[in-house]
């Protein structure tokens, strides 16, 4: 018998929490981005677990789409980070408050 689904859900919950706390306490934008990836992975783990529990392939399809969107998000996000760092070396997430509209 394989591991019960609740164990995977618990692990995914802990992983999501670690990622959320990371976004809240770190000010380095690159690390915050990696913490977002941690949260996306926790959600993916949940999707696959429910896919197994409910005997439905739809959860795995959702994970595939999450992977694609995460890749696109990382590309655009890192482009923005490079553009910010080109203007200000050593920027943190608190610095763009100087933006004026």
């Amino acid at each position: 018998m394989t591991i019960d689904g609740a164990w995977y859900l618990t692990l995914a919950a802990v992983l999501f929490t670690i990622g959320a706390v990371g976004v809240l306490i770190r000010r380095n934008v690159l690390i915050m981005f990696m913490c977002i990836e941690l949260m996306l992975n926790a959600a993916n783990l949940t999707f696959v677990t429910f896919s197994r529990e409910l005997n439905d392939i739809g959860g795995q399809v959702a994970v595939l789409f999450v992977l694609v969107v995460a890749a696109a998000e990382v590309v655009v996000g890192l482009g923005i980070i490079v553009a910010i760092f080109r203007r200000r070396v050593g920027a943190t997430a608190d610095d763009p408050h100087e933006l004026r509209g």
Partner: protein, 205 residues
């Protein structure tokens, strides 16, 4: 009670789960508390590998392969490129608050999220309603089944993701351009300091 639950599980499954879970948690803590961004990126690779092992354990072999190729192979390498390109591998003091009580608030919110998700995760989390997109236990391989689902039920979302990828590539190219070359002027056409392209006069005459 926990012993009776664990007794029903086969030992290889249990060992795989525990080792992969330990790798996932250690890697994620390394991402959050690592001082050097390069070390954080490498910890992220460990987490992604652990999640891939868990995918295999849950019979999602194709997703495990894609997880390794896309995440560890492409996304983390992109992170490392940006870290090296920007030269931000200097250390950050993690435990210094940016504003008063930041860590207190963060840990409180984290505990709240954990309690909430655990409550949902261990409570009545299955409604018993099965979707109609296809069962997992047909005599097909995982790749076969996933491919059938994507190219029949999920064909339109699949096509939309291709448009999304094109948009992302174009956006990355536009964002990474050197800002000193104006967007309106053609490539390779020298501009005078006033901002007008040199060749404008001849065109209008």
């Amino acid at each position: 009670m926990a012993g009776s639950v664990l007794a029903a599980v086969s030992l290889p499954d249990l060992a795989t789960f525990l080792v992969a879970a330990a790798i996932v948690l250690a890697g994620s803590l390394g991402v959050v508390f690592g001082r050097n961004p390069v070390h954080a990126a490498l910890s992220l690779v460990a987490t992604l590998f652990g999640v891939a092992v868990l995918f295999v354990e849950e019979n999602a072999q194709f997703l495990a392969a894609v997880q390794i190729i896309v995440y560890a192979g492409a996304i983390v390498v992109l992170f490392l490129f940006v870290i090296m390109l920007l030269g931000v591998e200097r250390q950050e003091r993690v435990l210094v608050d940016q504003f008063r009580g930041q860590h207190f608030v963060a840990l409180g919110l984290g505990a709240l999220v954990l309690a909430e998700v655990l409550l949902l995760g261990t409570g009545h989390w299955t409604t018993g309603a099965h979707a109609t997109t296809g069962a997992l236990n047909r005599p097909l391989s995982n790749v076969d089944e996933l491919g059938r689902a994507i190219f029949t039920s999920y064909l339109l979302p699949f096509e939309v993701t291709s448009a999304l990828l094109v948009v992302a590539v174009v956006a990355a190219v536009v964002l990474a351009r050197r800002p000193d070359r104006g967007l309106d002027e053609g490539e390779g056409r020298p501009a005078d300091p006033a901002g007008r392209a040199v060749g404008d006069g001849e065109v209008t005459e």
